[in-house]
Symmetry: C2
Subunit: 679 residues, 2 copies
């Protein structure tokens, strides 16, 4: 096939994804947004979400200008890496904006659809998740491919695009994580504890910020995180392919792009296979089960198709199946890690049940048990990543690692649709509650929400695993791009060991700062809510027409989130540079590995401990160990509150950290060398 | 100087330490053990401690036989490594037994001395701590030196001795950590919460186990941990010295031994400089301050002396000051890490105060704040270890790293005396309380105890730092002993990366299992205490002559501790072997580094978070944020309970892990090579 045809096919894949997005948006908007009350709530959430995004993007644009100038001045070829960086930033931000926009339009529509049909509710929520999913893969592939087609001979420019997506992920995922938990903690502390009003009560000025937070964290944050992983996997595979004896040159550049385009087609077919059948008069459990089954069908279809398609593509293109097996290694590792996550966080399994049982001995014992289970839960993910990586390496060398990361992410469109379905169903259930819809509708929405919790938990495990593989791919790329003295970074070298230690420490500092940000943000929200209750007359009494200032809370949480991002954001960029200029490029290689190791372990531990505490609480609320109001329940609430910043702030932020340091190292690596030679 | 004279000087140093121990023991035993009530309590603690040691040693002897046979069969030169291993085990166990024996004889004597004189109380407690300290350095140096003098040409045999000390440390530190917290948690849960009797009430069947636990964890556990670090630093320095161009051959072997012997002399002079002046009618704070000042004097004297002495020894012996600066790097790093620990755990500093303030928002916020502060507290220790290591490497290559570890541990006799003073003062205060001594005496004992808390916290920071440096020395030794394909373990190598990941995971699993052991043990104690309250008539009512079965509780906690040790103990030996035989020696190098990185970070985090929670509780109890009984206090109690297994079980166990994997790798390393060549 000529290069021209391949280029058209790749672009065609991206365009197809965006056409599919258009189709989905139409389906969603066709649905009625519900009664005025529902519309009002949905509108407030939407307004809050957009206020958050606007403020984030404002600060992001300052950040972008600074980095743009730094790249333009210091990195060869001048200007073009910077331009590519800018493109990556804008396109990733655009996909986040589109996804959030639709998610916040779809929540009330999901609740409304659920009034008449369970299947339609599921369909709307899933379609809206799919908008985020296919925006990410469509725009990600289009953007990167166009950059590559314009500058086919300069891989450094491609990396700029990936670096741009990292900046957005830093703001949306890490900043978003601080925002969402500040709002959550703040709303609960004053609302439930001080004022004694129920959760999701419209009188609480922070209630909208709390709902916005779900979208911020699990739609925009998750989307930008995986946008980065997706683009990273493709870009790293291209760079590694050029150096690989298996491919080399232009051939290496096209293979990842073709596979990504094929993945989009398979994902669309998968997404279209999610066809829930109408259910009436069945139990809550059965509703949950059927909803899960409907979405699983999409995953199976897209995975099986992709295996078949990639088999033929890779055999035809490379004349061997080696890279096919590398791809499969990543795909299987990702799938099994999701299962392991499910085991450690599901309320039906031993770990969460043990945590719930520990609640009877009080909060301290529950915390210890949760931390222990979280630590134990790192075993399978580590072994799977190791096995997947070793297998991929045996099949395809360093390129194999990149291809394995692609294997994990190849059906991202479909997988992300399932992940982002969660917060939309959650919001729909909230709206059904706040708008006082009938018991039937509420139950249906809650069943949809319950599945969403599972898919969101699986999504977290998957996001971490793919971040780890993407980070490994960057480490491999670093070794391709940066030539080191003696050609190796040996563990015998003190500089390397020092880098490893500092990389590990960086992870701890980053997590600590993120969690401290939640404390500061929560405190600020508490003060604001108290102020509104004091100053807005009739608000607490629930007088007709008196409304809290929702946007003020959104604004405060956003400000704190952005402020809390400054030090970690600077650290993650400055520490690798500083280390590179002082101890040299070898120690930076150590830094990447150290950060990957502790970042991966801590992210898995935090996500699983947090998820398990959450579900242990729900398990107790369902009647176990004395049920709601018991001593066990009180302890479980404490565990859940500890788990929130674990699983939604610090844990996910580490995904960004481990990928971002890799990119900083790869992009600035050649500059280390030049500078060291000059000194 | 001829080799003969040097040998006599080294042996002389060891003998001097043991003579000093004899002198100390005489001083202690001259003191009256107090009134019958005090003697009875002290006797019960002593009996419990011996019961614990007997059972530990019984299991340890089975373990030792198995390892002995494995070494005799698989490791060249057959038999002698195994014999040296046996010697290391027996001598380390002996020093633990001696230290515990005196510590449990000195507690009542300290309380009794405090009845007439504050200074004498301090002196008795410190002297008894010094027995542990000088047993460790004296027996450690004597044992290792004799092995070296018998087999001067086979370094593998020396390593067997260090490996033996590791086995004891595994049982006493990790097993002891599970024991002590099981007893603590169990005693509190039934005693304080269920039966409503005060802490340290003699009716509580677990109260003696709780007191035994203090000695087990902080005397025998700490002693065996540092015995291992001390022997490791000397042995690793000798092995590295042989390969170093700076020394080489016999010269290399003698330098570390001479320095250690000189360190003993300096430490004895330091210990003799601890001369508290009698105080009457001063405030509690002043008592604490003066006690601290008295012990600090000992540290300063021994450090300054050692700096001067080592300057002359190294210059005369090597003709250069390079290794002197390496030694100083380690000494300074150790000292500064202690200060950093003090900052993060002292109730007078910002971190602990912030944690205490967070208690006002409830247990969850307090836990998050404590974890965050614990993570932040890794910064200085990591930077100091890195700086110390890089400096030592610049001055003395790989040997410099060994010498730096020696520099940190050279005054161990004095430092350990101060560390082990803590639990003895703690026990003395407990006995003063239980025996109903006068208010004056109790206050004096409590002032002694308060200093002990600080010295114990500093000791933890120091133990971790020295374990990290000892572990680094083992990593360096591994590279000397094992020749790898291509001579390097590069980060570009997938096997190395896999090893790093698995090493990091091993740390998490080890910590999790240790903490879970505490849960199991605490639960078993709770059941036993309930049984005794039910079955022993008149016990709860406090009838005259009715006594609980204290030993039963000690026995149960010991059994659980030993059972909980099986899997972690097996893992830490089997995983490096398995990895070596499958992925090869390079991946074992990765494993060591991965385990060191996460082990060090987690140990620092856990020790400091645990210490800070403990002191935050004490700070609130002193009247801040509502004082005892307030909501903040309740939250602080939860934090303290979470912190207990952090700082006393999981954290310290990691010290053992990171050193033990290093030794397993060094000893079995050559076997990997042989086996791989065979395959």
């Amino acid at each position: 096939m000529s290069a021209g045809i391949i280029q058209w096919l790749v672009v065609g894949g991206g365009v197809l994804a965006m056409l599919f997005v258009l189709y989905l948006v139409k389906t969603i908007l066709r649905e009625s947004p519900g009664n005025p009350k529902m519309q009002e709530i949905s509108h407030a959430i939407r307004q809050g979400a957009m206020a958050f995004l606007n403020r984030e993007f404002k600060t992001l644009s300052i950040f972008t200008v600074v980095v743009f100038i730094a790249l333009a001045v210091f990195i060869e070829p001048h200007w073009w890496v910077a331009v590519s960086y800018l493109a990556g930033t804008v396109i990733s931000a655009l996909s986040g904006w589109l996804g959030m926009n639709i998610a916040t339009s779809a929540n009330a529509r999901t609740a409304n659809a659920a009034m008449t049909s369970w299947a339609r509710g599921l369909k709307i929520a899933f379609s809206s998740g799919a908008v985020m999913g296919f925006c990410v893969v469509g725009l990600g592939l289009l953007g990167l491919a166009i950059i590559v087609f314009i500058w086919p001979d300069n891989s450094h420019i491609w990396l700029g695009f990936a670096f741009g997506s990292s900046s957005v992920a830093l703001f949306l995922r890490a900043g978003g994580g601080i925002f969402t938990k500040s709002a959550d903690v703040g709303a609960d502390l004053v609302g439930k504890v001080e004022a004694g009003i129920p959760e999701d009560d419209p009188r609480n000025p922070a209630v909208i910020a709390d709902n916005v937070g779900d979208n911020v964290g699990d739609v925009a944050g998750m989307g930008s995180d995986l946008f980065e992983s997706y683009v990273s996997a493709i870009a790293a595979s291209m760079v590694l392919g050029i150096a690989s004896p298996m491919l080399g040159g232009v051939k290496a550049v096209y293979l990842p792009l073709i596979l990504a385009a094929a993945g989009i087609v398979c994902s669309i077919i998968g997404a279209l296979s999610v066809r829930p059948k109408e259910l009436t008069g069945v139990s809550f459990e059965e509703q949950v089960e059927k909803a899960q089954a409907a979405m699983n069908m999409g995953v199976y279809v897209s995975n099986i198709l992709m295996i078949i398609v990639s088999f033929f593509i890779i055999r035809a293109y490379t004349g061997s199946l080696a890279l096919f097996w590398a791809l499969i290694s990543g795909l299987i590792a990702g799938f099994l890690i999701s299962l392991a996550t499910e085991y450690f966080t599901s309320p039906d399994r031993a770990p969460t049940k043990k945590i719930a049982a520990a609640a009877e001995s009080g909060a301290a014992v529950l915390i210890i048990e949760g931390l222990s289970q979280g630590m134990m839960s790192t075993v399978m993910p580590v072994l799977l990543v190791v096995t997947g990586t070793v297998a991929a390496y045996i099949f395809g060398g360093l390129l194999g690692i990149g291809i394995a990361a692609m294997g994990m992410l190849i059906n991202l469109g479909m997988l992300l649709a399932m992940d982002c379905y969660g917060p939309i169903a959650d919001n729909a259930a909230g709206i059904a509650e706040m708008a006082g819809l009938g018991k039937d509708v509420r139950e249906r929405c809650e069943a949809l929400d319950a599945v969403g919790n599972t898919t969101a938990a699986l999504g977290k495990g998957f996001a971490i695993a793919s971040a780890a593989l993407a980070s490994l791919a960057w480490i491999a790329t670093y070794f391709e791009v940066v030539t080191m003295e003696g050609g190796v970074a040996s563990l015998m070298d003190v500089d390397v060991i020092s880098g490893i230690m500092i990389g590990g420490m960086l992870t701890f500092v980053f997590s600590a700062l993120a969690m401290m940000g939640v404390g500061t943000g929560g405190f600020a929200i508490v003060n604001e809510v108290r102020r509104q209750f004091r100053e807005i007359k009739g608000l607490l009494a629930g007088e007709e027409g008196v409304k809290p200032d929702y946007i003020a809370c959104v604004d405060i949480a956003t400000k704190v989130a952005l402020r809390s991002m400054i030090i970690p954001g600077v650290l993650v960029i400055v520490v690798p540079l500083l280390l590179g200029f002082t101890l040299g490029p070898k120690s930076v290689a150590g830094l990447l590995v150290g950060a990957l190791l502790t970042g991966f372990l801590m992210a898995v531990m935090m996500a699983n401990a947090g998820g398990a505490w959450d579900n242990a609480k729900k398990y107790i609320e369902s009647g176990a160990f004395g049920g709601k109001g018991s001593i066990a329940h009180k302890a479980a609430v404490t565990g859940d509150t500890v788990g929130d910043p674990f699983k939604d702030t610090a844990g996910p932020s580490l995904n960004i950290l481990i990928k971002l340091v890799g990119k900083v190292a790869v992009i600035f690596g050649p500059a280390f060398i030049v500078l060291i030679k000059l000194c």
